[in-house]
Symmetry: C2
Subunit: 434 residues, 2 copies
């Protein structure tokens, strides 16, 4: 299989950098294509299709925002758990686009269902099958409130379907991950494999998002594909569980997109033994692999946070409950004052104390301990005895900063991943639409 390297990618992405990324394997039962519908006006890929010739089980989780894109509304109406295709466009979020945005999406769905039915009719197996619009899912990311360019997208569907590739080699995955980017500076890819019973199962995934920070053009999307044979209901429960400590444990600035979507699609082509029970021990390895893959993607999103220079891990332990630990961890991770101090390489731990205090959680001040890296900086309501500002200043120069808060009042813990807050964030977001 050859891929045309010209007209390939987002112009920000250099092919020469491809070696720095993980190599993804093809997923049997999946076909992929990305083309340009000219939404950006510079020829970059902006439209991507994931097609499952014989369908796929799936599960998805969506943004918690009360304002949601027409594509999210569409997906939420699909009550079945077996689909044929997912189409993703960038540049336009199709959010706050009124009745017109929803109608435009429906027109696209009709055209796509028709094009895929024709494709199917040319394969020996699917000669008499018809693909319905309810077999299709959609995902959009881009500016909120601008007219949805449904005509441009619709007219590109024949080309998009024609270019579907069965064997996704590393180039195809790299092209796909680049096509769904907006303000991202790097494509995000992850691969895992594991066994279900005696069968080797593959999981390939792409994601986008400069954190959850720039909902106009930096929605978090993650699409996970596997050849495992797992019922949708179990995919759903595993995805929900794994997301809690991966995709839902990252923050760049606390803002939430209207278009967030994380989906998992299973073609079943690995022909592993059937799973009848979520507690089936055969699923243990798969869930672990899904967790590693999701954490990997989530961290890639944070590292690529707009303007980010440092990767920050905030770990809260010894809380009365997980929710208390989570609340405190997010308060620290979202505090502009903590994030600017880290950008300035200043071990200003008083700001961590401030961020803990403002949560209103019932902590016991005298019991709390705060560490930056391996350095204990505060305990018993005051600066730690062995506090050494010089050591801390050295540590703050690192690219990855760990903050640990031990509340010493229980066993709840939670970890949040975030990045620092730099002048470049302001630059990117102040000038974004220009």
């Amino acid at each position: 299989m050859t891929v045309n390297l010209k007209n390939f990618l987002n112009p920000k992405i250099k092919m020469s950098k491809m070696g720095e990324f993980q190599e993804l394997m093809p997923i049997n039962g999946l076909e992929v294509s990305s083309v340009s519908a000219d939404l950006y006006g510079d020829g970059r890929d902006d439209l991507t299709l994931f097609y499952f010739g014989e369908g796929a089980n799936f599960a998805a989780i969506y943004t918690s925002s009360k304002v949601t894109s027409a594509c999210i509304n569409w997906n939420l109406k699909i009550k079945r758990h077996f689909i044929r295709a997912l189409m993703v466009n960038t540049k336009n979020a199709n959010t706050y686009t009124g009745v017109k945005g929803a109608q435009g999406l429906k027109e696209i769905a009709v055209a796509l269902a028709k094009a895929l039915t024709i494709k199917l009719s040319q394969s020996p197996k699917g000669a008499s099958e018809i693909i319905k619009i309810t077999d299709l899912l959609f995902s959009s990311t881009g500016v909120i409130g601008e007219d949805f360019p449904h005509t441009k997208i619709k007219s590109t569907i024949p080309e998009l379907v024609k270019k579907l590739k069965k064997e996704q080699n590393k180039y195809v995955w790299f092209k796909t991950a680049s096509a769904i980017m907006t303000t991202d500076t790097k494509p995000k890819l992850a691969y895992e494999e594991c066994k279900i019973g005696s069968k080797l199962v593959k999981i390939s995934a792409v994601a986008k998002g400069s954190g959850m920070i720039a909902p106009n053009m930096a929605t978090m999307l993650a699409f996970i594909f596997t050849d495992a044979n797992i019922p949708s209901v179990f995919l759903k429960s595993m995805l929900k569980k794994v997301s809690l400590t991966t995709f839902n444990s990252i923050t760049v600035d606390g803002d939430t997109s209207t278009n967030d979507m994380v989906g998992i699609f299973a073609t079943g082509k690995a022909n592993n033994a059937k799973i009848y029970n979520i507690l089936d021990p055969k699923l243990v390895d798969f869930e672990k692999a899904l967790y590693r893959l999701s954490l990997n993607l989530a961290k890639q999103i944070v590292v690529d946070g707009e303007g980010a220079k440092k990767f920050i891990t905030v770990n809260v332990v010894g809380a009365k409950s997980i929710s208390m630990a989570k609340n405190i961890a997010f308060s620290i991770a979202n505090s502009p004052l903590v994030k600017t101090a880290i950008a300035g390489e200043d071990p200003n731990w008083g700001r961590i104390v401030m961020a803990i205090g403002k949560t209103q959680e019932k902590i016991i001040l005298n019991k709390m301990q705060i560490k930056i890296g391996n350095y204990l900086v505060a305990e018993q309501s005051k600066q730690a005895k062995d506090y050494n500002e010089d050591d801390l200043k050295e540590y703050m120069k690192w690219g990855a900063i760990n903050i640990e808060v031990n509340l010493n009042i229980g066993h709840g813990s939670f970890t949040v991943y975030t990045c620092d807050f730099t002048k470049e964030y302001i630059d990117i977001n102040a000038d974004y639409r220009n």
Copy 2:
């Protein structure tokens, strides 16, 4: 009365700028002094005393943070509503300073009570009176977690008491407002007068804070002094009510200080008719004056927000409840994406939609209308028909930006004041402690 202009002020403040500020009147029954306890090492004023020779009724509201300064803990223990003095220091927050910080404060209180008792003994009226430590309030603002410099402060008390001035002319008020500053670039002063019955009543106030944003050195403090004769319990209820829509309606970055304090002190020297009832119509004008004064100070704090270039008013109307309107207004005002867009003069109203959506409030999308200035930008879940990007871009160049969201589902409304989010904010906060 003369004031020594050398060694007068915070070095950032130029006397020549004094004409730009409101002129405050002296409050009968109040004496004021500010000196340097050398906490900064550059001779600037850092210690301020407000003394009431015959005492004052008072009421105060404090930070909602669960981590509070030793001074806040001290004040909260004072159950009486009649005090003799308030001492304010800058540079050190006396927060997270352990038992030592609390003991240092007590030593200061003992020394101050003694010095004021001696002063009192020299006046004919108070010859036999003794000032107790429970007659004193304290306020600190500065770095969290550093040792509280109680020895330096204690040794400066004799000078501080000696320099108390009965007649606070405009220079004294300007010096006082400058002495309580930290990262502020301007002192904050406000004056109002009104009648209670037939008596003219004066209200002079000083405040500090670059928003509630930089708890290490930018706590919000506001001290309001009046010669009105009003019982503490009514002062409290008016202060609470007025603060809701003034001091508690501003935000710079959503961070909350450990040391916030707003206090009102009434000497009673205006000899107005006694007030026996909070509903007494004689109080109406006073409450209005207190509201104007508080809003004035609150706006001064936002305008001086760290790095702020624009003043933003977010007005949410037509909500099901005040709490719904407040929640949505703060979500917009605290969103880094909204604030960076405004810094970039970009009428990117999609981000306002995002900030509304993430609140989880049950709005009806089709009913919501969004205005920027007088321009309707969105309604019926889409961009407004007459939307004109050029008009909006012109408007965004203004120094004061109004955002109005009409939810059209009820009668609850709330207004929040904030500022934009610029690169200078990052500069100030990344390098703060250096």
